[in-house]
């Protein structure tokens, strides 16, 4: 049996974390939900295949983390999809090096499409 693809989802809202985790697990992914991003900045092993990263999290800007990860050789290859309730910052998300952008509230099919696109 193939090892499940690992997806890290970071959002400070537990409801979203829970619902998306259920959905992605239902779709057959290994999901790790994070309510804060501190561990993301330091991770260097057991790297995920995809990171879904909320931009507006309490105390942290998802774009800064994205930039940071994209600058680190260890993590720079991990696809990152930034998520925000504000559609208008899609540009800055791409500028921060993100591979994709999703605006809340999104259709689950759109999410799954993005996930499939970046995990081959």
């Amino acid at each position: 049996m193939n090892k499940l693809k690992k997806i890290i989802i970071a959002d400070d809202n537990p409801g979203i974390l829970d619902a998306i985790s259920i959905l992605l697990e239902f779709e057959g992914y290994d999901v790790l939900g994070l309510q804060n991003c501190d561990s993301l900045l330091t991770m260097d092993s057991e790297l995920p295949d995809l990171i879904l990263l909320d931009i507006w999290m309490s105390g942290t800007d998802g774009r800064d983390i994205c930039k940071h990860l994209k600058q680190k050789p260890a993590t720079c290859k991990i696809p990152i999809v930034l998520i925000s309730a504000s559609r208008d910052i899609e540009h800055s998300a791409i500028d921060a090096g993100a591979d994709g952008f999703l605006a809340k509230p999104f259709e689950m099919n759109d999410l799954l499409e993005k996930v499939k696109k970046h995990i081959s």
Binding site: A19, I22, L23, A85, S86, D88, H91, K104, P105
Partner: protein, 759 residues
Amino acid sequence: MATKISNDGYKEIFNISPAAILVIGIDAPLYTILDVNEAYLILINKTREALLGKGILSAFPVDPTEEESKNIESIIFSFERVISSKKQHTLINCRHASPRRGREEFREQYWTTTNIPVLNENGNVKYLIHSTAKKAELNKLGEKEKTRFEALKNQRQQLYSTFMQAPVGIAIFRGPEYIVELINPPLCELYAKTAEEMLGKPVFEVLTHAKGIGFEELLDNVLLTGKPFRGQGLASPLMRSGKLETVYLNLVYEPFREDDGRISGVIAIATDITEHINAKLQIEEAEERARLAVDAVGLGTFDLNLLTGEMITSQVFANIFGFDAPVPRREYVKVIHPDDQELRSKAHKAAPETGRLFYEARVVWPDKTVRWVRVEGRVYYGTTSIPVRVLGTLLDITEQKKIKEALAESEQLLRNITTAAPTGLWMADAAGGITYVNKTWIDWTGLPFERHLGAGWLKAVVQEDKEKVLEKFANDLAKRIFHEVEFRINHSDGTIHWCVVNGGPQYRNEGTFVGYIGACVDITEQKHLERQKDDFIGIASHELKTPVTSIKAYAQVLEKMLLKKGEIKEAGMISKMDMQLNRLTSLIGDLLDVTKINTGKLQFNNSEFNLNILVKELVEDMQHTTSQHTLIESLAPPVVVWGDRERIGQVITNLISNAIKYSPNADEIIIQSELKENEVTLSIKDFGIGIAEQNMDKVFEQFYRVSGNLQHTFPGLGLGLYISSEIIKRQGGRIWVTSREKEGSTFGFALPLRNKKKT
């Protein structure tokens, strides 16, 4: 016993009488000689036959060398006088050259002639007795007497000449009828008559208009009493060149005395002073007019004698002081208000120095009402520069004072209002320069009044807003339209405040533009609240999205699970729940968009995209939301546009969903695109309820909703079309609607076609 004398006896007496007598008939102008006595025949050296039955002139044949043939005229006057007066009349020293007996030469002789009327039983003149006594024969007079007589003659000649040439009018009126015996040219001129018209006639018969107004009595009095009369400026109506005029005369009536002292007439001396009187009347009239004018404007006048302290005042003066008639000066002074007495004294003390008297004081009327008066006067100085007189006027200024006070009050009130108003107030002249700002504005800016004048006020405006503010004002001023602009000022409290200034162009009554008057309101708090509102909506809608996202996630996982289990019905219910969530999402999105529009934060992510593909995608999506309507596409050849694909998609979605929503009874919606030279248009046509004419231009306004009875049928926030129009406008396009009520509407927009470049 007295013996009655017979007629023959009288005849005898008549003939032997030493007095030369003629009996003259009254058949003027002939005056036939009825009888003549011996003495007369001897006197004039003629036969009875030569005279009887002839006219009087044959008794006095006129000597062609005789200069003074006027004598015969005076005899005839005498006849006329006697006939009219029925009294005897004597002519003294009547000179006449009569032919000498037996010779063909004339001899100068002097006569005294008396004419006596003989009356019939009716009292009328029957005939005249003309008796002549030879005064003296010159050749019989001694040389001395002859000289005296010549002197007398010269004197008489001189008198006559003086009389005729005198610059005053002189006339002699004889007898009780006042027959004009003599009249000189000035008086003829005065009466506007010729001497011929006057001579020998009763004066009042000629000057008919002077009759019956007292002149006869004056003359009678002189004639009776011998007391001369002197009158000045007597008005006398006279007919002059066909016009009745009033002539003013200085008159002297002197009795005309005969040698025996008897008064036989009146010498009238008249001087025409009409011009003088008229001039005087004109002055009087002018004075009267001036007085009336002064009275009419309610000006009292006074004439104060500074030497005696006496003051003459006019009626109006007295009235203004509350008196019925002028009173002595001290009475006026008494009624001046006690508080103003000192002021009055000071004014009087200062007057001789300045040459002017001026003060305003209150006077207390008898009924205790208080009136304000203004005294103005000029000081007149005597020859030694001593002030002697003050002439001046008095005016009741109570009403003026009241108006002034009312004005001052309203001015004070206005000042209080403008000061107390929490609003800045300003005025600008026609060139746009500030001429006034109120205290509120001064307080806000912390800059003194002078610093705001002209363009100085701009100092208070924050640097970034100055250009905008100036440009807007210059523009509105040029067009003279209502001015409104928002800007920030550096407030004296050290913070930045928001202001909205507005003002209207001002015109004088006749239409001249004079500038602007306006107000300025501190809208910092309002701005702050707006910001708070926008922030709140922004945060709220953002916060709402988070739970909606998780609900959607749960719902969709649940739907998948149910579908996997084959629970189709339950999965369908979850699907419907998801659609409601989409609706909720859309409402949240609208609120957020409006906030962004209002705060200028609506952003666009422009890119090139194919409009046809976008339309086809959206039509397909929207077709899923309705089973009743068929969405019919009629698209122009594919075209690439530059813009925010998602935002434009949002507009198309909004227009199609409106078309579906507002055509509940129709089954078709036509989506049509057209390619034009510089733009591409897309229109969405429905066959629904349509829009009433009067609401057509409101549909793109914020919060406009379909109103009326159908209101509840069509829910919504009324934001969709507003957002759509803002998006299209900001993408450089146009949006419009055509509609007929109950037939349907067509909403369309146009987007410019442009080269690939970022906006």
